[in-house]
């Protein structure tokens, strides 16, 4: 009998993904990393914290030696703002997010740089119980693929209570009430969700449960890694609206990571574009989207399928994003896909140059800027 290739390996694929889905008990880790006011549920804090990332480099050990996934990043999260990071797969977004919690796991390590969080100091220097407490007190976190990070054996409610206990919360009833309230706002029946096991929830429901876990303990710095990836547009819009609302109500500093420029466009005040472990452009969201300067940002925006306009206007970027092993160690990381590349791009890494609030790392942009300034003089 002839069996079409697709149909055979699909079942293989399904088995594989099923195996990955139930692997290990990441929920407990996720729960621990979620923020909390220690011992008490009220958030008597001195406003949202600011975050200053300086010259941060993170490497992973591979067969070819230690290779950088994040290279010399400078980035500020101003208190009370939503900052969005956009990048393609492998650009180092999740690694950057984990660094904010000093949670990069071996074979990875933070090689250099600092992450200063108001009220916490440099988290890259914290260790052990201090680190655990610091994370708990300040930082709520949703891992990428929150969809698969729940414990398959326990109901969501049971996991919520575990979370509360691990943070010495006395008013567990209050905790459950807050959780139900958050779930309700995200369009779900809170009581039913708390009674459910992971496999009884759809992907979108699990993702919302992950967000509830990040918010329920009242952390004032919230890190969301791909919170809406793989969700449909309506569910995504709902979640983004809630993130924005809670952000404003509670006065949070929010860091959101996504491969989807639209997500950041919709909710972030500031935007940073990552490529090959670098932030190549950052600035106020609407300004950057309205007139992107870095050739990569321009290409990325041009590559978005649009609802209106000529079909020919949108174009895929030629080439492919680099991986750990193919990121060039010298010169500009984007040069292979860049139309504007010059000789200097082969040898020298473009420095991040501020133009007001807007920072761009590109030789061509710097040269053009110098020209226009000369003309003015």
């Amino acid at each position: 009998m002839f069996v079409p290739a697709e149909k055979v390996s699909m079942t293989l694929g399904e088995r594989l993904s099923a195996a990955v889905g139930v692997r290990g008990d990441r929920s407990v880790e996720a729960a621990r990393n979620t923020g909390a006011a220690e011992g008490t549920r009220d958030a008597r804090r001195s406003g949202p914290p600011g975050v200053r990332i300086r010259d941060l480099s993170v490497v992973y050990r591979t067969a070819a030696g230690e290779l950088p996934a994040v290279s010399g990043i400078d980035l500020d999260l101003p208190p009370g703002t939503i900052t969005g990071v956009v990048g393609e797969s492998g650009s180092g977004k999740s690694t950057l997010a984990l660094s904010l919690l000093n949670a990069v796991q071996p074979p990875g390590r933070i090689r250099s740089g600092s992450v200063e969080i108001d009220g916490l100091g440099d988290v890259t220097r914290l260790r052990g119980e201090n680190l655990r407490k610091a994370r708990g007190r300040h930082i709520g976190y949703v891992f990428q693929a929150a969809q698969n990070s729940l414990n398959p054996l326990k109901t969501v409610g049971k996991q919520l209570l575990d979370l509360g206990r691990s943070h010495e919360i006395r008013d567990l009833r209050g905790l459950v009430r807050d959780a139900k309230d958050l779930l309700g706002r995200m369009g779900m029946d809170g009581a039913r969700v708390l009674d459910s096991h992971q496999h009884e929830l759809s992907g979108g429901m699990r993702q919302r449960v992950g967000i509830m876990f990040a918010l329920v303990l009242n952390a004032h710095l919230v890190v969301l890694d791909e919170p809406t990836t793989a969700l449909d547009m309506i569910t995504q819009a709902t979640i983004l609206r809630i993130v924005r609302e809670v952000h404003e109500e509670r006065g949070l500093t929010t860091f959101i990571i996504t491969h989807d420029l639209g997500v950041v466009a919709e909710i972030a005040d500031r935007l940073a574009i990552m490529y090959g472990g670098r932030v190549v452009e950052q600035g106020p969201t609407t300004e950057v989207l309205g007139a992107p300067r870095h050739p990569y940002t321009q290409g990325l925006i041009r590559a978005i399928p649009r609802l209106v306009g000529d079909l020919g206007e949108a174009r895929a970027l030629p080439g492919r994003p680099p991986t750990l092993g193919t990121v060039p160690s010298r010169g500009c990381v984007f040069r292979e896909r860049c139309d504007l590349r010059m000789d200097v791009c082969e040898t020298e890494e473009p420095p991040a140059v501020p133009y007001g609030e807007w920072i761009v790392a590109c030789h061509a942009v710097a040269a053009r800027d110098a020209e226009t300034r000369e003309e003015k003089e």
Binding site: M188, R306, L317
Partner: protein, 336 residues
């Protein structure tokens, strides 16, 4: 030509919380996809798109209704006789990571189905090798580079191209692409969409494109038909550009309103529609399935079921008692 007439499918849920819940995944869906044509099914997750795609690809049974392939009703055939028909409809699914066997090189992945085919048609070994290279070139890959490589050595976009090349080994008449670009890097998505469009033009393959991102549906061909599906029912259907520019069903308008606005580059539509609450597939409704979430529902909507048609003389078909065009789509700044 592949047509479906009044396809229905009901699932009964398992598990302690949802046990016994009935989900009407498809409630009498009609469709027609001409040879070389393009159709897109859009809707939020859980509305039945994948179920319909799998039924069309012969991977799932349906409860009632008829699938007709090139004039032959599938119900008139025994399962074994249906096989050659369904073989020519190939499913490309969302995840190019799990679709490929990680222990096989691209060469092995393509070789197996091609060798089978060569055996059946009395072709030679060299045909198999030549065909593998030809197909890889067709999907925009460099055969010399990818043939010896394993899936993990390729980018997501390259992997999805390999998946498409493998589907092409059986000379399919139709590709069913279920969220085929949602896991692909943004900068590479349009490349895959353009490939699907090219395959339509160069090979005459028809494409059934399943997505929740309406914008992508335009890129497999602006001659395509759009089917907007809600809770197993087609609620709006017509030419893709017509529906995007003048949607009349509040559900379609909700989908279009939910697409993120690129602030700074676009201004939001002035009448964006936000549906109330979330999708509940197992709810029983006497009237319009969308009434509970629809901001425009009236008494009639609660008690009577709208059927698909051209009510109100709209160019597209819709299932709404109050079809009203609304300005929901974001417009590029500087364009009206």
């Amino acid at each position: 030509m592949i047509t479906g007439q009044h396809i229905t499918k009901t699932f009964r849920q398992r598990g302690s919380v949802l046990a016994g819940r009935e989900v009407k995944a498809l409630r009498g869906v009609d469709f027609a996809i001409p040879k070389g044509g393009a159709a897109s099914f859009i809707g939020e997750s859980g509305c039945g798109k994948t179920t319909l795609g799998r039924i069309i690809a012969g991977l799932e049974s349906h409860d009632s209704g008829e699938i007709i392939i090139d004039g032959t009703p599938m119900s008139s055939l025994r399962p074994r006789q249906r096989e050659p028909y369904f073989r020519r409809i190939q499913l490309i699914h969302q995840d190019p990571y799990s679709a490929l066997n990680p222990t096989r090189t691209v060469h092995q992945t393509l070789d197996a189905p091609l060798s089978l085919r060569a055996g059946q048609t009395g072709r030679s070994r060299s045909w198999v090798d030549g065909r593998a290279r030809e197909l890889l070139e067709l999907v925009g890959l460099d055969p010399g580079y990818v043939l010896p490589r394993y899936p993990h050595q390729l980018s997501g976009g390259m992997r999805q191209r390999v998946v498409i090349a493998r589907a092409l080994t059986v000379d399919p008449e139709m590709l069913v692409a279920d969220e085929a670009v949602s896991m692909i890097d943004v900068s590479l998505r349009l490349g895959i969409l353009a490939l699907l469009k090219d395959l339509r033009e160069s090979l005459g393959v028809s494409v059934l494109f399943i997505t929740h991102d309406v914008a992508t549906a335009r890129y497999i061909g602006d001659d395509g038909e759009l089917y907007v599906i809600y809770r197993g029912q087609v609620v709006e259907r017509g030419h893709v550009e017509t529906i995007i520019s003048d949607p009349v069903h509040p559900y379609t308008q909700s989908l279009l309103s939910a697409i993120p606005v690129l602030h700074g580059l676009e201004r939001p539509g002035e009448q964006r529609v936000t549906p109330a609450g979330a999708l509940d597939e197992s709810r029983h409704d006497a009237g319009c399935l969308f009434a509970r979430r629809c901001p425009f529902s009236t008494g009639r909507c609660e008690s009577e079921q709208p059927v698909l048609g051209h009510g109100g003389d709209t160019p597209q078909e819709h299932a709404c008692f109050h079809p009203t065009p609304r300005d929901v789509v974001a417009m590029p700044i500087g364009r009206s």
